[in-house]
C-alpha cells in the first residue's frame, strides 16, 4: 500500500494545496511544515505555470508571483529536500505538463523518487493522455493521480478502474476558486467510483471553509483545499504561517 493510501486509512483526509514559490521557496518549506503541524494529511505542491488554464484568479495570481520571484525547478527540488529533512508527509506535485516535459520526464520523476514525492497530478493529462508519463512515473514509483469531473459520465468507470493513489473528484464545472454551489451529482459520482474501485476519493475545487470541507469529506474520503489556502498566503505574504495554521486546523477539525 502506498503512503498516500495509508493516509486515507487513518480517516478523512485534508489535502491543502500550496503554490510553490509564493511568496518564496523558503516560505513554501515553512508553510508546508506548518500545515502538516496543523493537521494536513497529504500536501499538494503546485508548480507555477505562466498560463494555468484550469485555475481561477487566486491561483493564477499566485503562479505569477512565484514566477516573478524567480521560481525554478531546481529551487523547488531544493525546497522539497528541506521539507523531507523534517517531514515524511505524503506529497503530490500538481503541475501543467509543459515545465515537466521541458525538464525531461525521466529526470523529473527520478527527482520525485529521490525526494520521496508520492504522487503526480496534471490537469492537462486526461485518461487519453495518461501514457505521456505513466511508464516513467511507474518506473520511479510515483503514483499518477487521475481526475473525475461532473461531466465525466461514462468515463468515470474507465478512469476509476485504472486509478492510483486516490481519485481527485472535481466538485463542479469551471476552474479552481471559491464558489458557493457544488455539482448536484457528486454523491452519485462517488457511488459509481466505489462500485468499480477501492481507491479513495477526495473532492476539490472551490472548497473554502470548514463547513464545505466537512460536507465534501462527508460524502467522500477527503477534501482538497486550494484557492482558500493560497488566498491566506496572498493576504499575509511572508507572515502567513500563523493564520495558515489556524485556517488548516479549523478545516481539519471540521472533517
Amino acid at each position: 500500500m502506498s503512503r498516500i493510501q495509508d493516509a486515507f486509512l487513518k480517516g478523512k483526509c485534508l489535502i491543502p494545496f500550496i503554490t510553490a514559490g509564493d511568496p518564496s521557496l523558503d516560505k513554501t518549506v515553512e508553510y508546508v511544515l506548518a500545515m502538516e503541524e496543523a493537521g494536513a494529511d497529504i500536501i499538494e505542491i503546485g508548480i507555477p505555470f505562466s498560463d494555468p488554464t484550469a485555475e481561477g484568479v487566486v491561483i493564477q495570481e499566485a503562479s505569477l508571483r512565484a514566477l516573478q520571484g524567480g521560481f525554478t525547478m531546481e529551487g523547488l527540488f531544493d525546497a522539497v529536500k528541506k521539507i523531507r529533512e523534517k517531514s515524511s508527509i505524503p506529497l503530490l506535485f500538481m503541475t501543467y505538463i509543459n515545465p515537466v516535459h521541458h525538464y525531461g520526464y525521466d529526470a523529473f520523476f527520478a527527482k520525485c523518487k529521490e525526494l520521496s514525492v508520492d504522487g503526480f497530478l496534471s490537469p492537462e493529462l486526461p485518461f487519453e493522455e495518461k501514457e505521456e508519463v505513466a511508464e516513467v512515473a511507474k518506473k520511479y514509483g510515483v503514483e499518477v493521480i487521475s481526475m473525475v469531473s461532473p461531466t465525466s459520465e461514462k468515463r468515470i468507470e474507465r478512469i476509476a478502474k485504472e486509478a492510483e493513489g486516490f481519485l481527485y473528484v472535481v466538485s463542479s464545472m469551471g476552474v479552481t476558486g471559491v464558489r458557493t454551489q457544488f455539482s448536484s451529482n457528486l454523491e452519485e459520482t462517488i457511488k459509481t467510483i466505489r462500485s468499480v474501485s477501492k481507491v479513495p476519493c477526495a473532492i476539490g475545487f472551490g472548497i473554502s471553509n470548514p463547513e464545505q470541507a466537512a460536507k465534501m469529506a462527508g460524502i467522500s474520503d477527503g477534501a482538497i483545499v486550494g484557492s482558500a489556502i493560497v488566498r491566506v498566503i496572498a493576504q499575509y505574504g511572508e507572515q502567513a504561517k500563523e493564520p495558515l495554521k489556524e485556517f488548516v486546523a479549523s478545516l481539519k477539525k471540521a472533517l
Binding site: 487519453e128 461531466t151 465525466s152
Partner: protein, 394 residues
C-alpha cells in the same frame, strides 16, 4: 497514443471537464462532414453570404516589377468580414447549431476571428462572447466596436501578456464553466483534437478553389504556395489540397517581430522547442524553465507562442518550409502592395507577401507562386501609421 495525432504532434492535453464535450464535438463533426444537407447548407452560405469562391488574382504589376515568378493572390480579403476566418466560423457555427448550442464563445487576436464569430452568431441568432487581450483591444479598437455592433460581448483579458494566448486561456476557462449550451469556436488549427482537423477542413476550401483556379489559368500547378502562420489556419487552408502535389513548395511565413535573434519575436518554428500547451503537443516559444515565453509581433493575429500541430508535422517531415519575416519587412510589403496593386492587405498577410517579394526572382518566368492574402488591411491602417511615426488615432 490518443487520437488526433499528426505524427507525434497534436493530442488532447486538456482538463477532464472538457473531454466529453470534445468527444461530442468529434462525433457531430464526423457525422455532418459527410452529410449532404449540411454541406449544401454550408456551401450556400459560402456562396451567398461569404462571397465565395474568392478570386485568384493575377498581380501583373507586381510580377513585372519583381521579374520572376507569376504572382497570384488568393483574395481571402474579399470575403465577407474581410478575412479567411469566416470560412471556419460559418462551418463551426453551423455545426454548433446542429448540436443544439445557443451560445458561441471565441478568442481573438487581431479581432478578425472575433468579428467573424460575432457575425455568424448574429446570422444564426446565437449569443456571442469574445475574449480579447487588453493590449489587442487597444491596438484593434475598431474591431472591438464592430463585434459590439454585431451584438457580441467583448471581454478584455488582463492576464499575462494581454494578447492572443491569454485570450485563448480565458476562452478555455469560460468553456469549462459552461459546455451544455456553449460551443467554443476555436479560431485556428490548434488546441486539442478535434479542433486542428475541423478548422483545417473548413479552411481547406481555400486550396480547393485555388488549385482549380490556377490549373484553369496556368494549365499547371504553381511552383509554390505561400501563407502567413500564427496558429496557422489560413496557411493550413492554403496548403492542404496541395500537400499531395509534391512539386508544389509549401511555405509558411512566421512573424519574426524585431528579429529571431531578439526576444521580441513570435517565430515559433525558428525559435521554439517541442512542448505541450493549449491542449496540443507542438512547438512553442518557451523559456529555459518550460514557461511559455512572451512573444511579440506588430501583427496581433500572428502574436502567438505556438503553431498548429499539423504545421509542426509538415515541418518535421520537411514537406513544408517555415521562414521568419520581420515587422519591418512586413510593413514594407504592406506599403508595396498598396502602391503597386492598389490593395491594402492585412499586416498578417503582408508577412507572406514580404517573403514572395524577396524570393520571386528565384523562380522562372513560366512558374507561378500563389500568396494567400488572408485578410484586408483596414484594421491595420492606424497601427501602421503609428509604426511609421505618424500620430494617427482612430
Amino acid at each position: 497514443m490518443s487520437k488526433g495525432r499528426f505524427g507525434q504532434f497534436g493530442g488532447q492535453y486538456i482538463s477532464e471537464t472538457l473531454m466529453n464535450e470534445l468527444y461530442r464535438l468529434e462525433e457531430a463533426y464526423e457525422h455532418y462532414k459527410n452529410d449532404a444537407a449540411f454541406n449544401e447548407e454550408l456551401n450556400t452560405l459560402f456562396r451567398e453570404y461569404a462571397n465565395r469562391p474568392s478570386l485568384l488574382y493575377y498581380a501583373e504589376k507586381m510580377t513585372k516589377d519583381l521579374g520572376g515568378a507569376k504572382i497570384y493572390l488568393k483574395r481571402e480579403d474579399l470575403n465577407h468580414t474581410g478575412a479567411h476566418k469566416i470560412n471556419n466560423v460559418l462551418g463551426q457555427a453551423l455545426l454548433a447549431k446542429k448540436m443544439g448550442k445557443t451560445r458561441l464563445i471565441a478568442e481573438t487576436g487581431a479581432g478578425q476571428h472575433g468579428v467573424a464569430t460575432a457575425t455568424a452568431a448574429a446570422f444564426f441568432g446565437m449569443e456571442c462572447e469574445v475574449f480579447m487581450g487588453r493590449h489587442d483591444t487597444e491596438r484593434q479598437a475598431l474591431n472591438v466596436y464592430r463585434m459590439e455592433l454585431l451584438g457580441a460581448k467583448v471581454h478584455p483579458v488582463d492576464t499575462g501578456t494581454r494578447t492572443l494566448k491569454d485570450a485563448v486561456n480565458e476562452a478555455m476557462r469560460e468553456w469549462s464553466c459552461r459546455v451544455d449550451d456553449t460551443h467554443y469556436v476555436l479560431g485556428s488549427v490548434m488546441g486539442p483534437h478535434p479542433f486542428p482537423t475541423i478548422v483545417r477542413d473548413f479552411q481547406a476550401v481555400i486550396s480547393r478553389e485555388a488549385r482549380e483556379q490556377i490549373l484553369e489559368k496556368e494549365g499547371k500547378l504553381p511552383a509554390a504556395v505561400v501563407a502567413c502562420v500564427g496558429g496557422g489556419s489560413n496557411a493550413m487552408g492554403m496548403f492542404y489540397n496541395f500537400i499531395p502535389d509534391e512539386g508544389v513548395r509549401l511555405i509558411g511565413c512566421e512573424a519574426a517581430g524585431k528579429g529571431v535573434d531578439t526576444p521580441e519575436t513570435a517565430a515559433t518554428i525558428a525559435t521554439g522547442t517541442l512542448g505541450i500547451f493549449h491542449g496540443m503537443k507542438s512547438y512553442f516559444c518557451q523559456d529555459e524553465q518550460g514557461q511559455i515565453a512572451p512573444v511579440y509581433s506588430i501583427s496581433a493575429g500572428l502574436d502567438y507562442p505556438g503553431i498548429g500541430p499539423e504545421h509542426a508535422y509538415l515541418h518535421s517531415t520537411g514537406r513544408a518550409q517555415y521562414v521568419p519575416v520581420t515587422d519591418d519587412e512586413a510593413v514594407a510589403a504592406f506599403e508595396y502592395l498598396a502602391r503597386t496593386e492598389g490593395i491594402i492587405c492585412a499586416i498578417e498577410s503582408a508577412h507572406a507577401l514580404a517573403h514572395v517579394i524577396k524570393t520571386a526572382g528565384e523562380y522562372g518566368k513560366d512558374e507561378s507562386v500563389i500568396v494567400c492574402l488572408s485578410g484586408r488591411g483596414d484594421k491595420d491602417v492606424a497601427a501602421i501609421a503609428r509604426y511609421k511615426g505618424v500620430d494617427l488615432h482612430e
